[in-house]
Symmetry: C2
Subunit: 175 residues, 2 copies
């Protein structure tokens, strides 16, 4: 079976050292700022990013060792469904324990000051490795036609939400 | 330096065998259908996905060998700027030749019939490895505040666009 190798291009610095206290979606915690420290060798890749208001952060949510870990459960209870205990397939949720633990966060760009990029919208642990940074491109990133968001449509979201705030972090929990 | 390992979870089947003829953004080719063939071992992860209208396909755009290849240029001319020749930083564009060649495509779900998922919005070569499938979650995936899309705001997009249609595929070209 094929395997592909990734390398971090930088590190995300936030005030969250504990998974249980980290907001579960950047969009639910839009007022907080955090910083990308890009590796110096990639700084030239930031040219032009300052003219974008938003970007996608593609992050590594797996172990630091980078080993292929045992497969996570393919059905999990999302954090946001903790109260009901409903399980859904991992490809119908955004939780971190996935076959390939890649995270995707839409953030608002606050300042591009190479090698640092300050952004608003924080849902990452301090030290999260950054794999890629892609500009938000409205024509590509806006759904066409009616939008239905499955089980998300049944929940009521307010401000920042954390695993702890939702009642703890049982092993089967994720966004 | 850390390295992280990924494995394909499935394969994308499209009618495009040549990079030069493949549309450069799924959102610019919304009428065409293609199919994900998920590996049988991941089928349980699709539970609930059928209730979503849209999803993100996270794809591998690098070599089949998965080796860490030589670093791509950090400034490139995007396909869509071919006419002007303007270079931008790789983190201010969406092209495939990136430090970590991860692709991100928003597609419309047409049918979830495990292990196959049919979708509309095709910008992938036939045989592209799928790394992850994430449901579109409006609250997380809609930018908050004013949206500016840098150099994309200066171009006029119509229907499907291909590298060939834009005048060929010089090595420095990408979306």
């Amino acid at each position: 079976m094929s395997q592909f190798l990734l390398r971090p291009i930088g590190t995300i610095r936030t005030r969250y050292a504990s998974f249980d206290d980290t907001p579960v979606q950047a969009a639910l915690n839009v007022d907080e700022h955090a910083v990308i420290e890009l590796d110096a060798s990639y700084v030239d890749g930031l040219e032009g990013l300052g003219e974008f208001s938003h970007a996608w952060l593609v992050t590594w949510l797996g172990s630091e060792q980078g080993d292929v870990v045992p497969e996570p459960a393919l059905r999990q209870v999302p954090f946001l469904l903790q109260r009901t205990g409903q399980e859904v397939g991992i490809f119908a949720m955004r939780g971190p324990r996935r076959p390939n633990p890649i995270g995707l966060s839409l953030v608002q760009l606050v300042a591009v000051e190479p090698p640092r990029v300050t952004f608003a919208g924080v849902d990452m642990l301090d030290g999260t490795p950054l794999l890629d940074l892609k500009p938000y491109f409205r024509d590509a990133d806006t759904p066409i036609g009616d939008v239905h968001c499955g089980w998300y449509d049944s929940i009521d979201l307010g401000g920042p939400v954390t695993p702890r705030g939702l009642g703890g972090s049982a092993p089967s929990d994720s966004t």
